[in-house]
């Protein structure tokens, strides 16, 4: 399996492209922008975007969908019924998706203030805006950040330290580094 990072200037966000070593149907997570770099990654690796996974419905993580759907016939998976007016397959926590042979564990991150999904594929964890390297992801209101702090601690407390964290913004990390140094876990 291969996973590529695509950085977008739209909200300085990260999108991720995941597919098999041999090409074929692939997954894009949080496409904030469908830019030339992402198109080249898809085409040069003989991928076809069949699945779009959305961690949460914020534009820096969704706006690439419009262009993506003009090029590829893909299904959107999200916690919301629609994203930018496009219907989605609403995913529920605990679901184990099998997307063109790639197994995706869906974890829910729901508080009163926000709803988000976390996707685990093998040893990769795609955390969207709720966990970044050394922080609680994209800064929001104090209420949301307090809620996030409680939920993050319980969600990731027992997770394997070797799992890599791929956030919606900023550098990648590992669960080990987050448990050791992220002030929210200390």
């Amino acid at each position: 399996m291969r996973c590529f990072i695509n950085f977008s200037l739209n909200g300085f966000s990260n999108a991720y492209l995941i597919g098999s070593d041999d090409g074929g149907d692939a997954i894009v997570i949080d496409p904030g922008e469908m830019n030339l770099k992402l198109l080249r990654l898809v085409e040069n690796n003989n991928f076809y975007i069949r699945h779009i996974l959305i961690t949460h419905n914020h534009k820096p993580h969704t706006e690439g969908i419009r262009t993506l759907l003009k090029i590829y016939n893909a299904e959107i998976y999200s916690a919301s019924d629609t994203i930018l007016g496009y219907p989605t397959k609403v995913t529920t926590p605990g679901t184990n998706l099998n997307l063109s042979g790639i197994k995706v564990d869906v974890m829910e991150f729901s508080g009163k203030k926000e709803k988000s999904l976390v996707y685990k594929i093998g040893k990769m964890l795609f955390t969207g805006d709720i966990l970044g390297a050394g922080n609680l992801g994209h800064e929001e209101s104090i209420e949301i950040m307090e809620e996030r702090s409680k939920l993050v601690s319980s969600l990731f407390k027992n997770m394997d330290k070797n799992i890599m964290v791929f956030p919606g913004h900023g550098p990648p990390s590992t669960i080990r580094a987050e448990k050791d140094f992220n002030p929210e876990f200390l």
Binding site: M1, C3, F4, M124, I142, N162, M164, P171, T174, N182
Partner: protein
Amino acid sequence: MFSLIECREKGCRNFTPDGSDKCLKHIDKREEFISSAISGLIDNEYIRNSNLSTIEIDSVILKDKMIIVANFSNSKFTNMDFTGSSLLFSLFEYSTFINCKFENTTIKYTNFAGSVFSECDFNDSDIVNSNFNGIEAENCSFNDSDLYYSTFTSSKLHNVTFIECNLKKTDFFNSKRENVSFKYSNYEEALFYRDRKK
């Protein structure tokens, strides 16, 4: 993207380099493989999608390289010269750097969490949105650098200088600082406390 396949050796959790089912510690013909990997680093301008975690490198010049989406975690670098290089979306977690030069580098979205730095020089660099959480740094300098949005939370800094730096949104929460200089830097725009944790 670097490999995320764990080493086949019983009990080992290290990730493997491309094309191998064992990590650098347990790979067959280890010296030969590492020598070839270091030659690859020297010969190529672009170092991308590599996993060379646990490598130990001494006295190699890696000037003006583009290191993109690479994993060098749990490694040891001694007397290295990264002058003029770009490090993007890469992992250097829990590594050791002794007497390494990072002058005039561009370091973006790169993670050094838990690493140890001794006698290292990051002067004149753009170090944006990168993670130095939990590092232990001694006798190091980041002078004349842009450290916008980079984090040093829970770090231990001893004899470290940040002279004439942009420290806007640079996060030093929970850090221990001894003989650290922020002279001529906008340290009032850095974060030393978190309101939520006050």
